[in-house]
Each structure stands twice: as C-alpha cells, then as structure tokens.
C-alpha cells in the first residue's frame, strides 16, 4: 500500500506522486505511460466507457468532451448533460481521479488516503467539491493543500533553501502567488493571493483570435464554423505558444473546414508577448498585492520560485527578474512539482503553518468621534493572513431602542466597502425587551487548524449568546448518503 500520496488535480493536467522509502517523492505514470494526465473526459457514445487523458483530448466530439472542469468547481449550477444524465463538476473530477487511482495502484499498490492540491484562492464550495470528488473515486482526503505551498515544500526539499520564498504559480487556468518562510523543516505561510480565470488557456484564446483574424484577412472566410474545428485550431495555437517559449519565430498554416483555402500564420515571440502583455501586467499586480498583504518589499524576498506550465514563457521570467533583481528559479519540471510537493506534505503536514484564507467580519456603522464622520462599512474582526488557529473579538453596539433581535451579518472579504464583500451567513440573537440602543455585543470569530470558521455573538448585558459554524451548506454540497451512492456507481464504470 502506498502510504504517502499526493495528487495535483490541475485545470489542464493532473498528476499523482508518492513518497518513496528513501523519503523522496516520485511521479507515478498512468497506464498510457504518461507522467501527467490531461484533465479531459470524453463520454463515448457507442461503448459504455469514459475516456480520461490524452485519448479524450485528442479525439472525440466536442459535445461529449469536457475540458477544464476545475474552473467550475465552485458553481453549483454548472451541470454537464450527456445522454440525459446531468454531471456535476465534482463527478467529472471524480472520473479523472479514478483514472489516476486505478492506473497508479497497479504500480505502487492500493491508494486509500491522499493529499490533494487546490488553488490558494479556491473557496469553500470548490474545496468541498474537490473532497467529494476524491471520495467518489474511493480515496479519503487526508488534507487539502494549496498548490503554491506544495510547490514550495518540494522546492525547499530539493534545494535545501531557507528564508522568504515567493511562489509564482501560473498554470493552465489560474494564477496563485504565495509568500512563505522556510526555517529548517518548518514552513510558515505569510500570504496567498489568487486570480481565477488567468492562466495559459487565456493566452491560447488570445492566439486563437489572432489566427482567426489572419485567416479572415488572407482568405476572406471564417476560420471555424463549429466547435469541433475551433478546438482543433485551439490545439494548434497551444502548440505554437509552447514553441515560442523555445524559438523566436514560428510559422504555421491553418485551414478551415469549408475548403476556403490555407492561410500562413507568422508569429514571433515579441508579437506573442505583446499580445499577452496586459494579462502579464495583471499577474504583476497580483505579485504587488501579495507583497503589500505580507507588508514586504521585493527586496525582502530571498527566492522567487516558478511553478506551472505558463511560467515557461520567457517574458514571465524577465518581468519577475526585473521586479525582484534576482533570477527566478524552477524546481525541476514546473508541471510536476505541485504533485511531488503534495506527496511530501502527506508526511510533513504538521510542520506547515497556514493562515486565514480570507478576512471575516460584520457590517457596522463606524463613527469617528474626533471628526464626526460616519461610514457604513465591512468591519473586519479576523483579518486575512492571521496565522491559524486563532480567535479575535470586536465589541459593537446595538443600533435601536427596544431591539428584540440582534442580527449580525457574517462577511468574507477584505474590502471596507460592504458592497464588495460576500455575506456568507447571519446570526440572529433574541435579547430582553425595553433596552436602550448602545448595548454592547461581542462578536468573536475563531479559525481552527482545519480551516473551519466559527462565529460567536454574545450580548454582554444579558449574557445570551449564539455560536454557529461558518460553513457553506448550500447547493452543490452532497450529503453522506449521496456521496456513498455516487461512489458505488463510479466503481461500476469503465474508465480508460
């Protein structure tokens, strides 16, 4: 049995690693002989089989092929309908995890418990969906770990470095920036910031638009008229993008599926980098936001570590080098280090000090007695990046005379403008009658090691209190029975 196993369930590629007896992690190839498996599922129409990986990506019909399901893990309304059955993102992810489990079990033995990586900015529903996917695939999740943290653990393990590390993780679908310190075997996260919908696939789409424009100019026709052909061209742009990381110039030819002729596409690295410059500027702004969050300057960072396939783009390296005054480093294969790090985390998880992923607070009218100003705002009780476990209290006052029910909104988010944060819950507390406004109410938030948040409201005069677990229980979260049923159903499927 494989004791320490880590899985990188990526937007475009997924990988599984295990810890060898010598303490070093190793990627386990799938049954197609590939070290990483494309996160693509194809629902075959003629045979009762689900294809996962390269076979699913390279062939098949677009209507029956699912790409980048990870981008929808937090969307309870995103359902994929195939042959009348509606599949949730967690169920489709479970097919990918099942393929990894079944293939890798043949090499390293039974896999029962795993560490799975998620983007640092994954919300609670996306994290719960990931855990549900693993359970449907017959694996217990020992822990979820943020992708940049896993990569940093691997980097520290292989390079033996100490100090402050900034991990810049630009994958197929998301960007994560994490700053952490490594002291001996101990890792302390200082901050994690993320940008959803910013990754290599955005660059592919930009190139696709450029191809379509060129084709229109040269032939006067549309490059594609259906999704199948659009996918083919998209695949070609992805190849061109990869080649431009090695070559200064790439020549390509494309045709549409209507016999409108062939167009020649000339691409240079400079022109490609100009096309994606605005996207890269956004990534730089996220790096700056991370430094601000950690109250650090670029000069305070000892190592800049690159993770994710999109960091192969030379401009990424150049921009970060200019910003930090030092050459960013990669920890081996940028596509594999997250899975490798996850296998290490499976053994060393107790040595990683995490922080709150978001700020929690409530809505309050804040009066400044000195200036007389008043402002309705998101009043943060427990700030993002507070080391966990932790507990913080703020005292508020009631707003009305004879208030019988105190309502406390629970906010998640850093913005002081209440319109720009999420209201994720509400606590109501009945209090005695005939009291004037201005009675004190203590609001406490606690955050435990398992990233569970609790909120406690105490009316100080009456001593009445109410405590709730702040957790997502809405649409998209499966009950235990549903999970068991879906897991049993998945076991009967043929997944290749």
């Amino acid at each position: 049995m494989a004791e320490y196993v880590g899985i990188d369930l990526g937007t475009t590629l997924s990988g599984l690693a295990y810890l060898k007896p010598d303490g070093n992690p190793e990627i386990v190839p799938n049954s197609d002989g590939e070290r990483l498996t494309p996160s693509v599922v194809f629902f075959e129409a003629h045979e009762d089989v689900k294809l996962v990986g390269s076979a699913a990506r390279d062939g098949g019909e677009p209507d029956r092929t699912i790409f980048q399901i990870k981008r929808h893990m937090d969307d309870p309304e995103h359902l994929v309908e195939i042959d009348g059955k509606k599949w949730t993102p967690a169920e489709i992810s479970a097919l990918i995890l099942s393929k990894l489990k079944r293939d890798c079990t043949k090499i390293i033995g039974e896999i029962t418990e795993v560490v799975i990586t998620v983007p640092a900015n994954f919300n609670e529903l996306a994290r719960k969906s990931t855990i549900a996917a693993a359970e449907m695939a017959g694996m217990k999740v020992k822990r979820l770990v943020n992708e940049p943290t896993a990569a940093a653990v691997y980097y520290a393990h292989t390079q033996g470095v100490q100090g402050r590390i900034l991990v810049y993780d630009l994958g197929g679908g998301t960007l994560d920036v994490t700053i952490l310190t490594v002291e001996g075997d101990n890792i302390r996260i200082l901050t994690s910031e993320g940008a959803r919908h910013l990754g290599g696939s955005n660059f592919d789409e930009i190139l696709l638009a450029a191809y379509a424009e060129q084709y229109q100019k040269q032939t006067g026709s549309k490059l594609w008229t259906d999704e199948r052909h659009r996918r083919r061209v998209l695949h070609a742009t992805e190849d061109a993008k990869k080649m431009l990381s090695k070559l200064q110039r790439v020549n390509d030819t494309v045709a549409n599926d209507q016999n409108s002729g062939i167009a020649r596409i000339d691409l240079t690295r400079d022109s490609f980098e100009a096309m994606i410059r605005h996207m890269l500027t956004r990534t730089v702004m996220l790096v700056e936001q991370s430094l601000d969050s950690a109250k650090l300057r670029a000069a305070d960072i000892d190592h800049v570590v690159l993770v994710g396939g999109s960091t192969r783009i030379p401009k990424v390296k150049t921009v970060l080098e200019k910003m930090f005054g030092k050459t960013p480093k990669s920890c081996g294969n940028v596509d594999e280090c997250v899975a490798l790090g996850a296998a290490l985390v499976a053994k060393k998880s107790a040595r990683i000090q995490e922080v709150c992923n978001a700020s929690y607070g409530t809505v309050a009218m804040v009066y400044n007695a000195k200036t007389g100003e008043e402002k309705l705002m998101n009043s943060i009780v427990i700030p993002k990046n507070t080391p966990i476990p932790c507990s913080r209290t703020q005292v508020y006052q009631t707003s009305e005379d004879n208030e019988r029910v105190i309502e406390v909104d629970i906010t998640q988010g850093e913005d002081e403008d209440a319109k720009f944060v999420d209201i994720i819950g509400r606590i109501t507390l009945e209090v005695p009658p005939n009291r004037p406004k201005g009675c004190e109410v203590a609001v406490t938030f606690s955050y435990d090691e398992n990233q569970r948040v609790r909120a406690l409201v105490v009316d100080k005069q009456s001593g009445r209190s109410r405590e709730v677990a702040v957790s997502y229980k809405g649409a998209g979260v499966l009950s235990e029975d549903e999970l068991k049923r879906k897991s049993a159903y998945l076991k009967t499927m043929r997944i290749e």
């Binding site: 410059r277 500027t281 009066y367 309705l376 006052q397 707003s399 988010g413």
Partner: protein, 110 residues
C-alpha cells in the same frame, strides 16, 4: 475614538448588498460623492468612458494617489473576476483592462 454600531444589511436599505460593479455602472444608480468623476456621469452622458474615467483618476491626482487607487481597484475587481455571475465577471474584466491601461500610461509597460 471609534464607535461601531451593528448594522444588518437586510435592515439597511442604504447598504443593500449588490453585486460588485464597475465604477461607471455604479455611477448610474448610486449616490456617489459629488467630487468623483463617476458621480458626474449622469449629468454628462456623452462623456467618453476612458480608462481614467472608469478608474476615477483625475488630472490633479499625484503619482502615489494614482498608484493607491489602482491597487484598491485591482484588489476589488480581481475578486469580482471570480464571480459565478458571467455579467459581473465580464464587467470586472473590463475594469481590470482599464486598470492595466492606466497603469501602463502612468508607470510604463512591464
């Protein structure tokens, strides 16, 4: 010095929770300080929505003020860009583009 009075958004119509929207969209429906260009928008519907306008950058602003404003907006709209609502996501994307254009104009390209 600060007194904090609990407010429930359900009780407070003034602070009714809304989906995050770009500054220009907000200007059409919410009362914003008269000092901001966004607030002036309803009176001048023909005014072009330049990136500066969207980011509420005025000609009198100092470099550090522009930088602070862009950082605030980036944090705000990067968060909105993760919304499940495609409309909010598209508007956030439009704002992020405007933020980058203003940044390049005032602080140079990366």
């Amino acid at each position: 010095m600060f007194k904090k009075i609990l407010q429930s958004l359900s009780k407070s119509q003034a602070a009714k929770p809304e989906a995050p929207r770009p500054a220009a969209t907000q200007a059409k429906t919410t009362a914003v300080s008269a000092k901001t260009p966004a607030a002036a928008a309803p009176q001048q519907p023909a005014m072009p929505k330049t990136p500066e306008y969207l980011c509420e950058i005025t000609p009198k602003m100092q470099r550090d003020q522009i930088q602070a404003q862009l950082k605030l907006l980036y944090r705000r709209y990067n968060r909105s860009a993760s919304s499940l609502d495609p409309k909010i996501r598209a508007q956030a994307d439009q704002m992020l583009d405007a933020i980058v254009i203003v940044r390049e104009k005032h602080f140079g390209q990366i």
